[in-house]
Symmetry: C2
Subunit: 220 residues, 2 copies
């Protein structure tokens, strides 16, 4: 068996491979919406199985390390964080699939508005994803905290977007199907942001051993 | 320090306490929708903090057991399953909160249909939740498999419900806000069903050491 330090590196490498796949899936699903790119949507659907496969590999590897190495302190926290981040990444992949399906449905609807807000929300969410993963790689607790701070901005944008889309529906029933697709897309983007927040919280747990979940006062 | 066997019992006891809170939250959120019971909705919102608190306690306790006891084989699988089930239960609590908020919003809208379908979906979902938790307590892999089989039924009901509600919206724009609330409620119920499926998969991993995620063929 390899040295434990190397095995932890392998685990981190697998997580980075997973996060690369998930980041591409999110990026392509957003392109499918904003650029009406049906190839991008199809690509996300094709890559889902690969992401699911890596999730299982990472879980198995992490549990094996727990069993064989009986790690302590920071190493144990790293493996527990890896298990949690793995789950979040897989869910983010699922959400990119949902977005791609809605993007495909949108292609069949009349366009109902310039999608500036959606691009804005998507940009913010992608930046949260990037920062939470960078914070994990570099063990940067300041960067992790900045992700927590962005979560409210996404929530507020999504609320404004919700009310705008409802008024589109009320104005003309022909808008309803497209508006429902856009509502689903912004909801899925918000859930991706929530998972980035989870990852940032796991980074804080990993770096400082502090559990900041559900403690708004500690997030400042 | 107590005997390890006792500590695992304590961990299981904490998870059962958590699951009792979450089951009540789901049950009360459904009552808020079906019986238009605003007290039930308020109760769910009040109890959210308690569920979040137990989640943190369980995580801390499980990580402590991993660190101090260095468990092997079944015990290790139990603790890893506990960490995963804990996350699922907390998310189910969040979804009950979402349902309760939509129930409150629905009280201000004109009623748009007899809610037979919603009651049917809710009944199925509650039964999945119950069975997945019973399967965990009794380590019953057959019961866990029956939960996986129910997931498709919930998905199908929700799809039918979606189309019905869209047609309500298209018929009369005054229905839009209420229909959006009902869409959100059925979506949240479906996500609760998904988390029950996750728990059932964790039970199968725990009992048989088999990872059945993403393997439709193994679910039969």
């Amino acid at each position: 068996m390899r040295h434990f330090f190397e095995e932890l590196k392998v685990l981190q490498g697998k997580l980075l491979e997973m996060s690369a796949f998930v980041e591409v899936a999110i990026q392509r699903s957003i392109a499918a919406v904003l650029q009406k790119d049906s190839n991008a949507a199809a690509e996300v659907l094709r890559n889902e199985a690969r992401i699911n496969q890596i999730e299982i590999e990472i879980d198995d590897y992490a549990v094996k390390l727990l069993a064989l190495q009986q790690p302590m302190a920071t190493d144990l926290r790293f493996i527990v964080a890896a298990l949690k981040i793995n789950t979040d990444l897989e869910r983010m992949g699922d959400l990119a699939v949902n977005i791609s399906e809605r993007a495909k449905s949108l292609l069949e609807q009349p366009m109902i508005k310039p999608m500036i807000d959606m691009g804005h929300i998507a940009g913010l969410v992608q930046s949260m994803v990037r920062k939470s993963l960078d914070a994990f790689v570099t063990r940067d607790s300041e960067l992790a905290r900045s992700v927590l701070a962005s979560d409210d901005a996404v929530d507020n944008l999504r609320t404004a977007n919700y009310h705008e889309l409802v008024s589109f529906m009320e104005k003309d029933p022909h808008n309803i199907k497209a508006a429902l697709d856009l509502l689903a897309i912004s909801r899925n983007l918000e859930r991706i942001a929530d998972h980035s927040t989870n990852i940032a919280e796991d980074v804080l747990f990993l770096v400082k051993g502090v559990d900041v979940r559900h403690h708004a006062e500690a997030r400042g």
